[in-house]
Amino acid sequence: MRVLFKTSYDQDIDLLVLPGERMRVGALIALAILAPLLLSSYYLSELAIFFSFALAGIGLMVLTGFSGQVSFGHAAFVGIGAYVHAVLVARGVPFPLALAAAGLLAGGVGAALGRAVSAMHGFYLAIATLAFSIVMETVIGAMEPVTGGHMGMPVPGIALFGVALEEAWQQHYLYLAVLLFFVWGVANLMRAPTGRAMIAVRDSETSARSLGIDVRSAKMTAFFVSALIAGVAGGLLAHQLQYLSPETFGVGMSLKLMLMIVVGGLGSISGAIFGAVFVSFLPNAIDALRALMPDGLVSQAGLESFIFGAFIAAFIIFEPDGLHGRWRKLRLFLETYPYYKRATFIRQKRYLKTGRFR
């Protein structure tokens, strides 16, 4: 196994310390930068949608993965962001300002919700957020003069500083930049006191309080950051959808976001991104799989969603730590090869213990 000798505290503070990590992340970013050269505009637009969802997933990860607040209504924040952004852009507000406003407004609503639900736990919180999103959907539908009601509204194209970004590659770089900025920011937050306070609240509220963490404000902060990021993601997504309607941001999308972070592995930023990759591109994979299936099966309505469900179920059963966990194990395997022990990859028996304690 490779051993790293740390020589300064900064090495623990810095984000990417190991040369391997740096190489991997660097390679990924380089690949993303080169993507327009390698991919057709179809795949670039797929990537842009993926970036938006990955960003929303990172938002949810802050809330659910890091601070343990389960939200099944996160699509509502994506929706708020999308609508605010689209409405402002349509009224001539410059793109960056509109995006910022979308994030801040979504964040504000999130913080207010966070304050209201700070006394709730686990499943109560999950259902409360779900209800919030259902109500939100109705509210957006009822605000007809602004949002176009249930009929929906078209989204204008992107223009940055007076330049219209119509080409897929232009949008690609814009989206990539926004995504990287927030990934970096969230990583920063999580290595600083605020992020640690969130993790503390997740693991033991009692203990967190006794160490001076104001649990309610920690939860509000988590809600704010998380909803802000989701709102920005919504703004980005709006341009890819080109047409907004309230039911787009319903329970289905919330569940999809949740799926992403669980499949990716709760509690890690890379997990959110891996999960988004998985959930976003699974339909493409299933599509490819269809070529191999017998004819009668292929035309079965609902086959996609069956396979989709099966994949997710298999994932949770066989790799509950998510893609992130699998990746860690793989790395361990490679690093220790050939000295790895088979036992390393076998799970010990586990036992349920009540979660009904606060």
Binding site: Y9, D10, D12, I13, G185, V186, N188, L189, R191, A192, P193, T194, G195, R196, A197, I199, A200, D203, S204, T206, S207, A208, R209, S210, L211, G212, I213, D214, V215, T221, F224, V225, G267
Partner: protein, 254 residues
């Protein structure tokens, strides 16, 4: 002035009083031990101080400041840190992260600065880390720094919890059974650490402990509690020789 003054503290669950008019005071720089049979209300005193339980009556003053008016998270800011009887660590984090959270009450925070990781944040992190390393050195647990708490054996966790409490640079340390689950050798280590903490860091210690050996070795004064009431307060010898303490707690002449 006393560091901690508890006066007429009463805590009740339903109709049952877990603490009934308990009064005591802790002087600066002393080790004050609380003993008593199981269910006497020892942990309840700590929980009342750290505002996990609401007191029905009485007052708790720290340097004259009424604690019962504060929200729970403000207590540690006054300089009161604690450990828990049944260990309440952040299980899925490393020891280092646990200790850094321990610094929470001593760092300045601003979410957006941290989001951008401005230079000040890094300086703060370094400072926090230096302090944490001092504590790790003091308790001789550098080797555990990057271990996940959920992988540690019981005894090691006890020590991590002590370390985490110390990271808050408390003036008053509340320890709930620090030596339970430790073998005699480890208990001896614990007694040395507690002495160091008291003498070198100048921390006042209140501790609940059943190990009379440890109590005898380091406590300046002892309070015996039974059924939520104070049986006796005084030096170790005085309390140990109290007849009621012997029948209720020690069993036979110890």
């Amino acid at each position: 002035m006393s560091t901690l003054t508890v006066d007429g503290l009463t805590v009740a669950f339903g109709g049952i009083k877990a603490l009934d008019e308990v009064s005591f005071h802790v002087e600066p720089g002393e080790v004050f031990a609380i003993i008593g049979p199981n269910g006497a209300g020892k942990s309840t005193i700590f929980n009342a101080i750290s505002r996990i339980y609401t007191a029905r009556a009485g007052s708790i003053r720290f340097h004259g400041r009424e604690i019962l008016e504060l929200p729970p998270h403000e207590v540690v800011r006054l300089g009161i840190a604690r450990t828990f009887q049944n260990i309440e660590l952040f299980e899925k984090a490393t020891v280092l992260q646990n200790l850094l959270v321990g610094r929470h009450s001593r760092v300045r925070r601003s979410a957006w600065r941290e989001f951008l990781f401005l230079p000040g944040v890094r300086r703060g992190e370094r400072a926090a880390r230096r302090k944490v390393e001092e504590i790790l050195d003091l308790l001789d647990m550098q080797h555990l720094r990057d271990a996940l708490v959920c992988d540690l054996p019981y005894g090691a966790r006890k020590n991590v919890e002590l370390a985490r409490a110390l990271c808050a640079e408390p003036e008053l340390l509340l320890l709930d059974e620090p030596a339970s689950g430790l073998n005699p050798e480890e208990t001896a280590d614990m007694s040395f650490w507690l002495k160091d903490i008291k003498e070198e860091l100048g921390v006042t210690i209140v501790m609940v402990e059943h190990d009379m050996n440890l109590v005898g070795r380091i406590a300046n004064r002892v309070m015996a509690l039974a059924g939520g009431r104070v049986l006796s307060v005084g030096s170790v010898e005085e309390v140990q020789s109290n007849e009621r303490v012997q029948t209720a707690y020690l069993g036979a002449a110890a």
